[in-house]
């Protein structure tokens, strides 16, 4: 019989494990912070000469490129972390710790969701450190925006983690991570509104615009962008929530040894 107490205890255990893992992997922690800063300091600098981007919501006036890509880079941090964290499930599964978790009396969906949420919670401080450091580049959303962004970051991070979980249920070995980088992370990131506004992508190529408009990562970024400026992007909220339910549902099914993708495999 599982009770809320059991669930809470299990969640705290998973959270502690994720937190310890994050702290002990210093290289990963540092690179999670350095990666977006490199984009902001070097990549964005090249486009700074652009004489201001036209005002599109949620911005009320002209902005520099750094201001535009900062929410996209926060999204990138969640994307990389979500993929890395969820794909570490492959390792967990190979080494047996995931099997241990999945054989607990708790519902499988809860174990997987708890793992996802714990993974998002441990990366949030790093994302906030990045957002505060971005102020050095004059990326200054209103103070309340940092608070409003919290639920958006959690929802977006969980959705991206669920996508990673789904992919990890399809992968046999950890070595396939490079493939995931090339075929999942890069297309999701580059064909999104993280780096360029949708109208610009649409202008360059209608297909690219369509892909970016349907890319769930675009909606994760827009949800964060609007929240940082104290606004709600309702269509993005709907897409991110819907994608979370679909990805999480499929991942739960995929992790069921009796029915999911594992059934077809030799272990």
């Amino acid at each position: 019989m599982t009770t809320p107490f059991h669930c809470a205890r299990a969640f705290m255990g998973i959270l502690r494990r994720e937190g310890l893992r994050m702290l002990r992997q210093r290289g990963r922690l540092v690179s999670a912070l350095i990666r977006p800063l490199v984009w902001l300091a070097i990549f964005a600098a090249g486009f700074r000469a652009v004489l201001g981007l036209s005002p599109t919501p949620p911005y009320r006036s002209y902005i520099l490129y750094e201001t535009y890509i900062a929410p996209g880079l926060a999204g990138m941090m969640l994307l990389f972390h979500g993929m890395q964290s969820s794909l570490s499930m492959v390792y967990d599964r190979e080494m047996g710790s995931m099997r241990l978790l999945l054989t607990s009396p708790l519902p499988r969906w809860f174990v997987l969701l708890a793992r996802l949420l714990a993974s998002v919670v441990v990366v949030l401080p790093v994302v906030y450190v990045f957002l505060f450091l971005a102020r050095l580049w004059d990326v200054r959303p209103p103070a309340l925006g940092y608070v409003a962004a919290l639920p958006a970051l959690i929802l977006a991070g969980t959705m991206l983690g669920a996508l990673g979980l789904l992919i990890s249920s399809l992968i046999r070995q950890l070595e396939n991570f490079a493939g995931v980088m090339n075929f999942v992370i890069f297309p999701l990131f580059f064909a999104s509104t993280a780096l360029y506004p949708l109208w610009k992508l649409d202008d360059a190529n209608a297909w690219l615009g369509w892909i970016a408009a349907t890319n769930p990562f675009s909606h994760a970024v827009e949800l964060i962008r609007f929240a940082l400026y104290c606004q709600v992007n309702w269509p993005s909220l709907a897409v991110v929530s819907g994608a979370l339910i679909v990805f999480q549902g499929l991942a739960t099914w995929g992790y069921n040894p009796g029915r999911g993708f594992w059934k077809r495999r030799d272990f």
Binding site: P55, L144, A227, C230, V232
Partner: protein, 321 residues
Amino acid sequence: MQTLRCGLFLILVLVARAGRADTIYVSNEQDNTVSVVDGASLAVTKTIPVGRRPRGLEISRDGHSLLVAVGDDDRIDVVDLTSGSVAGSLPSGADPEVFATHPDGRRLFVANENDNLVSVVDIGSRRVTAEVPVGVEPEGIAVSTDGKTVLCTSETTSMVHIIDAETLELTDNLLVDTRPRWAAVSPDGRQIWVSSEIRGTVTVFDRSSGLETGKIEFSVPGVEQELVQAVGFVLTRDGSRAYVALGPSNRVAEVDVRTLTVRKLFLVGQRVWHVALSPDESRLYTANGNSSDMTVIDLRNEEVLKSVGVGRGPWGVVVAP
């Protein structure tokens, strides 16, 4: 919770802004209109049709009218601010671009761009009473607060002409950097400020000796220097700060007058022509020629608040309390 917080924030912002009574007027050079923007809601509340090619504009001394130089119709339209429509006009000489009202409220000094003249208009009798020949393509016009001196820049001659407001004689011609656009006498009456579009500088002269006492250079990181062009500018009443429109670099510079250095750059719309301070000097409004909008800057918090779409080719901007 997020919605509640954002809602509370919005209410606070709205309450804070409800006190503002500024009305901003922007001349739209290519639309032959003047846009009226409400300072509280930051939205266009009215578009007033005026004559062809409106550029320079001023609120009349009594605050009841808006005067607009309509270059292609060779006159100055008088807009009644109560009815929000053109109620009459004043003569101006050919192709008026910029004008300034004398502190006595009886005379206008008008730059006639194509005729190389400054026309003096008697407002009461609605007549051009005198013409002062100046350099080629006169543009910037200013009258000192003591009413003794009229300044006129001539773009092609690269000079600022100093005219005695009583005798209407040229008392001095100061050579300045290429294509001077705008001129002003400092609030304390001691300095003459002139902007140069091509060189992208503002030169400061001692008014009594006519000698150059300083020069402000501008640069915008990542923007080609030739795009950094100084055009319209305004000084605060206490003379401590100046705000300079930097044309196609899409920036407005805040200048510390004591040190003649740039304190901050604000990103605004494309090809910013002219700027105006709100009566309480807490805001700066800009007219952005190529992006058909005007930008509102909160000077206390040093942040750009909003860009508001107006007509095509915004050129001049003035604020009524």
